[in-house]
Amino acid sequence: MSTQAEVPFTFVLPKEKAPKPKAIVIAGLIKENPTLKMVLGCCPTLAVTTAAPNGLGLGLATALVLTMSNFVISLLRNVIPDKVRIPSYIVIIAGFVTIIMYVLKAYFPALDKSLGIYIPLIVANCILLARAEMFASKFGPFSSALDGLAMGLGFTIALFSIATVREILGNGTWFGIPMTPHFFSPAVLLILPPGGFLAFGIVMVIMNYLTRGKVGGDVACATCNPENSHCAPDSILGGK
């Protein structure tokens, strides 16, 4: 940065430098956790967290897609014209999602069955387009892949924890293994649709309390629309 200050009259804009790997990992897992801090991708967070393996499976599938799509989009970032940016990103993301879908069908059919249409719906998960737009279109392929992995794992951690709580309290099991004593009758509500909202609501209240109300604000996933100014990179990366 200091070299830029010495030549104040340059017309070439200084290239934004990618954050350090450690910062990327911390941002993805904790500081900018896509589910808990940014409130992105709520649909799968609510829908598949009825059992721990489902939460883990969808989280990892999303992380895999995100890592690969970020890598490829970053590689092509100077080739793709600005006008067809969004459709190009969507097509690349849809390609990787379809690959994952067929791999799951072939090698993990039970997981594929229980996740159902939520696997192809990874395409519409705002996290993917948001990361492509905010990170991969600006920085190098390896930083972008790391960002995808970190964000994906942050998403996985959130999904897995919510699913663990819902499965243990709602069904008395964890990965299908009985966990609760016999006198405890599981609160079935937690694995029913209303329980999804309830469990996520409780998580959000705790996060709100811990961060003094700075989570997601009032807008939730609507912010992830690429044409929305809330998504400006400086408000996402590196804080205020």
């Binding site: 793709i80 014209p81 067809v84 190009s88 067929y102 072939a106 059919p109 069904n171 694995i191 029913l192």
Partner: protein, 226 residues
Amino acid sequence: MREILKPALVLLAICVAIAAVLAVVYQVTKPIIAKRAADDLKAAMHEVLPQAESFQDLFFDEADAKAKNFDVSSTQLQLVKAIPVAAQGGLQMLQISAGKNQTGAVVGYVFTSLSAGYAPDGVHVTVGIDTTGKITGVRIGDQNETPGLGSKVLALHGPYLKQFNNLTPQSSNGTYLTLVKNKPASAPPEQIDAVTGATFTSRAVWRAVEASVEAAHAEMSAGGQS
């Protein structure tokens, strides 16, 4: 013109490249997926009719065989002797297979049906019945019943499904099994006790088993290969 053409060409190139990759992935995984589905189906049939060594699909008619991707021109097409009513009172019989032992003699039948339950998707039920009319196993396939309530009925080794095992129900006025609520201890085993709070799911499974038993008797008395 250039400003429109170039972006369009880049987007088209990306689409073509991705489609090509997907075509390869699809070709590689397709046989694996098909084999796994066939293996799973065979394992499910073997589970409800353990004494059978191999299974032969019976078809309702030629159109049914065609719909199930069976090579109609081959001479092996085996038809169901007594055709069950297709969709009667919320039940749809999807597939009937004959289980055979090592010498090729029919030892029983496996019935797969879709029965209307509480959730709109229905419950897939696979029932095995041997040639003496004994129920050798009941297994639940795809379903979307209420977790924690309906799923109690469907638990693999749960008390509800156990009621059917090894029953050889006899016909009384055309019905073999009946569904009752709060069954007294002295009642005969042909009365199936519905699970409290999950009546619809209980009825879905009972309806499928009852239809399978009826179809098995019809098939055997029509001189099916027993």
